[in-house]
């Protein structure tokens, strides 16, 4: 095994120990127990220990298993989609904007669709911020418009046009039936149709958002759980400078 390779660890190096649990829509029986072990085996587990099998009523049953997997991953060889973002501090951000951009950066924030979760977006935008850090409203060089929750994508487009936004921050928390992907893609398409897309930095965020979601839906970046305002502000400044360079 190569030095960079890692494998799950239970109580000794490379034992490959993992825990899994799931339900089946059948009662517990000798057959269902074999089925569970078969599923685990097909997932590549060996040394399979079915440690719990319990009827949940109404022909459902619940199983817990332990076992080992032979899979190891070479950490060195892993392609990390985004290199870690270089963070600026509060003062640097404002200075950079003042110097490089010569006017305030106009930011719109909204939770779109019928999603009513505002806490995450507020954490990034509102003055009181998150985890002890102030939100974007506190940065003198950002001019922030928080449209709140349940905002139809159409309204975001309209507003962006009206106030000449530079950045659009969109939060999506509800993900059932992939409604977040639908909403985000729709917004990106509407902006495209209005020829606004290229003029904007388009950022999404939420507990189930990541770089991949951003990519898929046509956004410039996607921020997940634990995001801080500084990360978002830093990204904005990086992106602004990148775009300025490109223009030259």
């Amino acid at each position: 095994m190569n030095i960079g390779e890692v494998r799950p660890y239970g109580d000794r190096m490379n034992d490959g120990a993992i825990q899994i649990s799931f339900s089946l829509p059948v009662p517990v029986s000798a057959r269902s127990i074999e089925a569970v072990k078969l599923i685990a085996a097909r997932m590549g587990m060996n040394n399979i220990r079915l440690v719990h099998a319990q009827d949940m009523g109404n022909n459902f049953s619940f199983y817990i298993l332990y076992g080992a997997i032979n899979i190891s991953v070479d950490l060195q060889a892993i392609h990390v989609p985004e290199v870690e973002l270089q963070l600026f501090d509060f003062w640097e951000i404002n200075d950079l904007i003042r110097r490089e951009f010569e006017r305030k950066v106009v930011v719109i924030g909204a939770t779109i669709g019928v999603d009513a979760h505002t806490v995450g977006l507020d954490a990034i935008i509102s003055a009181k911020g998150f985890g002890g850090e102030s939100g974007l409203e506190r940065y003198p060089q950002f001019e922030v418009f928080n449209l709140g929750a349940q905002v139809p994508p159409e309204l975001v487009v309209e507003y962006s046009k009206k106030i000449h936004a530079d950045v659009v921050l969109v939060s999506q928390v509800v993900t059932q039936r992939n409604v977040h992907l639908f909403n985000l893609s729709l917004l990106a398409e509407l902006l495209e149709a209005e020829k606004l897309r290229d003029k904007l930095i388009l950022i999404c965020g939420g507990p189930y958002i990541n770089a991949q979601v951003a990519l898929e839906t046509g956004f410039d970046a996607g921020f997940g759980p634990g995001t801080t305002p500084l990360q978002v502000a830093s990204f904005i400044v990086h992106e602004l400078m990148k775009r300025k360079m490109r223009k030259k």
């Binding site: 949940m56 109404n58 619940f62 806490v119 509800v174 059932q176 039936r177 759980p225």
Partner: protein
Amino acid sequence: MKLNISQEQANACRQIAKEVALEIQRDIAPLSTVSVERAILRLLGIEGEKEKIPYVNILVDNLKEQKALEEGVLYWIANACLNTGLSPQDVALKVVSGSFNPVHLSRKSFQEVKNKAEELATESLSRLYKKKKAREALKQSFPPSLPPLLYVIVATGNIYDDIAQAKTAAEQGADCVAVIRSTAQSLLDYIPEGITTEGFGGTFATQANYRLMRQALDEVAQKVSRYIYQVNYCSGLCMAEIAVLAILEGLDIMVNDAFYGILFRDLNMYRTMVDQHFSRYLLGLFDIIITTGEDNLIKTVDAFKEYSIVLVSQFINEQLAQQAGMKKELIGLGHAAELDPKIPDSLLWELTQAQLVRQLFPRSPVKFMPPTRYKTGNIFFAHALDTIFNLVAVWTDQRIVLLGMPTEALHTPYVQDRFLSLESALHIRNASRSFSRELQFIRNGQADKRACELLTQAMETLIKIREAGIWNALSRGVFSQIKREKRGGRGYEGVFKKGKFYLNPFLDKKIVMQARRRAV
């Protein structure tokens, strides 16, 4: 368990809350809404839809367009019945199909119309009272389960999956099953029709879905020898109408809180207060428990510092419900602690607060809600938090306990999440069944101190609200710092002033008594 709090102060809070509620009552008394009118139509037994629009909406919108709504729908229906000899449902069919325009029929004398309206209302109510009797008999046929009632949610979006999971939960030991509504149904100004199998973060509340779930729960009740309470949501733009569905389909508990709509759904405050009043009135008639949404108030603010807002809202909600005629035993005031687990002594505060609510509202079937906001994807820690929550709930003798889920931060519950939750709750309910009788706060300790402080803070806020007036207070962000405009928010266009011929005999005590008598 008893906290040493001042009963006088509690009484004072109640008195102020009553004045606030009276202000609301005074201001909404002259008003009705499209939703209240549709609710009346549903009470008369009108159902059906045309091109996805319910008849009740078509009728009300029709009258509204003709500027004839200020008499109220019942006036026009009764008049039409008199003119045509048809039943309300047949009148509706004719109007919808364009056979006649109710406003163009000859207007009978007000007394005649009123009599007809009263007759229709009496018939409707006595039919519903009969249904209620049958349900009560069913309920009585089972032995009561150990308190508190264990309440779980299902939320697959598909009513059939919901049913499968609801039955599973019942077999596992759940007492109450709530079907969470599809995201933003509360923003719809109509009730969708039919059986639905797609929803977002929940399942649409429709009469057909209610009925299927009711059947399923009654079925599984036989299997587990325990009555299973069916729960759904009133709050939203159809608050009053949904209450009617609940009555029609025999639901047991309805989540019902205008403040939630105002603050978290941006509904217009007058609209939803009017709707709420009629919905509570109707639910009260049929002994359906309501539960309120105070848990939401501390989901977005510092839950330790601002806890007293929960009490403020409860005092007002209690009064509003009483003014709608509900008895205390039906007013399930909601609460939650939602404390940051990092706070030193958080468990002592959680316990104190839970006990305080229980003690301030001893006759209320209070509904205690679990920690949610500090849960993360760490399902094991979430399970630990919920287990302790269950203990607090049993210990303080709560009446209805909404069980937390290990996967709260991830998804609406999987079948095994609910199973694990119930397993923990059932254990705690059994293992600490005598806690409320065997344990005690030390006198004048930190718990008593915090309870007194909270009550004082609640009183101060209530005084402020009374002074500013509730509508102003709402627009200044007294609740969780959320500010709402008096004329802003969804649904304001559906509010109207009742005209001088406005009719609603469902509110008439005599009619109700008569209907009740007739149902025996």
